[in-house]
Symmetry: C2
């Protein structure tokens, strides 16, 4: 299964049997609103805290992915999930609801593809027949935790990103119909010294570039192998930096296939600064938008490179820089 | 590899090629002080914050485990690690230092065996030749984050536990000399409604019992198969509750083999309330104490059942109960 130094090639091509995307009111006005399964007009999702709202959305995403997979819940052996909340409580509380043996993961916004890579490894290696992987983020719960109380209405610079209110999940199985997970490249932690949490795109871009270059080195293929190569949530600022880094390295990345989930999710006229971010960003764009395009026959091969800024509010206060990581997973029809 | 519903049987028996245990000043006075590789007399480990001290200890544990394994660092393909800090910054910052492709995990104090199970899966399935798994906790950083500023000197009830200052790591490989990982049972999240963070033993005991019973159901063996069955950090209170639960369920658990890492690590006269806790607790007791006893020939088969309380300071403030999980890994000579 090992290919190169940090990649896995999945010979059995685990199948995504069902996937789901749940979004909030801001996502309901976004550029890919048609691709969501559930869109909430209420940012509280009928709950009395942002944290409970986020949990409710991840529960919905998991239940819907299971329903669409046509696999009975008690046949799904493991739940692999992570999120941005301290001690990933959204995932753990959802695991309690689901009652499925649980692996908590954390890679900040890279958790979506960390989870999908591990779920695929389990299916590929026959460590499980069916695994569900999910992740979520909520603008309100993330703002509260990582920034200021939202009531402050504090200003942000244009490099800031808008945390997606959304949850996505996928059920992976050893056989059946659907898009297939064909490989994964696991990222190293890269830190170029950026310490501004309002410029996470810049902090994460070098990690994305490192993982993408490792992917193509490990598999000895060209970027044009894919119809789309999408980073997780670099946003406009980070996307430009990543493009420039490829150029500097002499790595030919065609601009027509290289994109970013944080650039795709919202409309140009939505006030989202440099674009979307959060674990939910790459999850809903992948499990909603891209997989639907694959099922329609518009895309055949995609590489999702989820990016994570591995800081905490305390590491920022203690003047640490922002270590970043990116995990790539390829999905093919 | 699947055995039963939530267990893996590792046919290739991945080998623990090197392991390490690093402790702090309180552990240096404990009952297993002889089993540590490094003991720091300075709770700050020469750093200017508890968070940096914890990171320093995890770095030391990883570097030492790699050295003892006799495997060159650049041949180790993945680092699997988790800890108690918000956004598991200890692990992510250590991953930056190591430069090894990184899987962040979170299962609170169950992270030690979650990581070892995943690392063993990777080696078993030939997804890697060598993987390092580690975890840590620090009394000062955990108290700051989960309780009150230590300067308050706030009182605690006798059910409270003492977070271990320690880090442990293990290098797992496909062949070589050493104790072997033979199976793993992954836990479900169990929540019996306990909401008191000063009684985590009571919150976690039902999860430990659930995973242990699942392990013996899945493998159809008797507890006497093992020389030791040790939970992670139930402490005295949780250990008693777990023993009572086995009795209620009619599950025969011999009291001479059933123990708890949180009961083992400190001396009776140390003021640790109900015993040790924290990710570092099961890690140092397993990678220090138990593995050394195995290498001496005193133990042949052990089952480590690391337990995790999946709460956050905020979930407690929001009056949530404490969901808990336990992951079991068996190690045999």
């Amino acid at each position: 299964m090992i290919t190169g130094h940090q990649s896995w090639s999945f010979k059995s091509k685990p199948v995504i049997l069902g996937s789901s995307a749940v979004g909030g009111p801001f996502e309901a006005k976004g550029a890919i609103k048609e691709d969501f399964d559930i869109l909430h007009q209420d940012i509280w999702v009928g709950q009395d805290s942002f944290e409970k709202a986020e949990k409710k959305m991840l529960e919905e995403a998991c239940q819907l992915a299971i329903k669409k997979s046509n696999i009975k819940k008690d046949r799904i052996q493991f739940f692999v999930s992570g999120d941005l909340m301290n001690q990933i409580t959204t995932s753990s509380f959802t695991a309690r609801t689901l009652g499925i043996p649980y692996f908590g993961v954390f890679g900040a916004c890279s958790s979506s593809m960390e989870g999908l890579a591990l779920a695929s490894l389990m299916v590929e290696s026959k460590a499980a027949q069916y695994v569900i992987s999910g992740t979520s983020s909520h603008n309100g719960s993330a703002e509260k935790q990582f920034r200021y109380p939202t009531e402050y209405g504090s200003q942000k610079p244009p490099t800031a990103q808008w945390t997606v209110t959304g949850a996505g999940a996928a059920v992976i199985g050893h056989e059946g119909q659907g898009p297939r997970v064909t490989s994964a490249t696991i990222g190293k932690v890269i830190d170029m010294g950026i310490s501004d949490p309002f410029n996470m795109g810049a902090a994460m871009a070098p990690a994305a570039v490192d993982t993408i270059e490792a992917h193509f080195r490990d598999f000895n293929i060209e970027p044009s192998y894919y119809d789309v190569i999408a980073t997780g949530d670099l946003g406009k600022v980070g996307h430009k930096i990543a493009s420039n880094l490829f150029e500097e390295h002499g790595f030919k990345m065609p601009s027509n296939i290289f994109t970013d989930c944080g650039k795709i999710i919202y409309e140009e006229d939505q006030p989202v600064f440099a674009g979307g971010s959060g674990c939910g960003c790459s999850a809903v764009v992948t499990y909603g938008h891209f997989l639907k395009r694959m099922l329609k026959g518009e895309l055949k091969r995609i590489l999702i490179v989820a990016t994570g800024a591995l800081m905490s509010p305390m590491s920022y206060q203690q003047k640490e820089s922002i270590p970043s990581v990116a995990h790539a997973v390829s999905i093919e029809m």
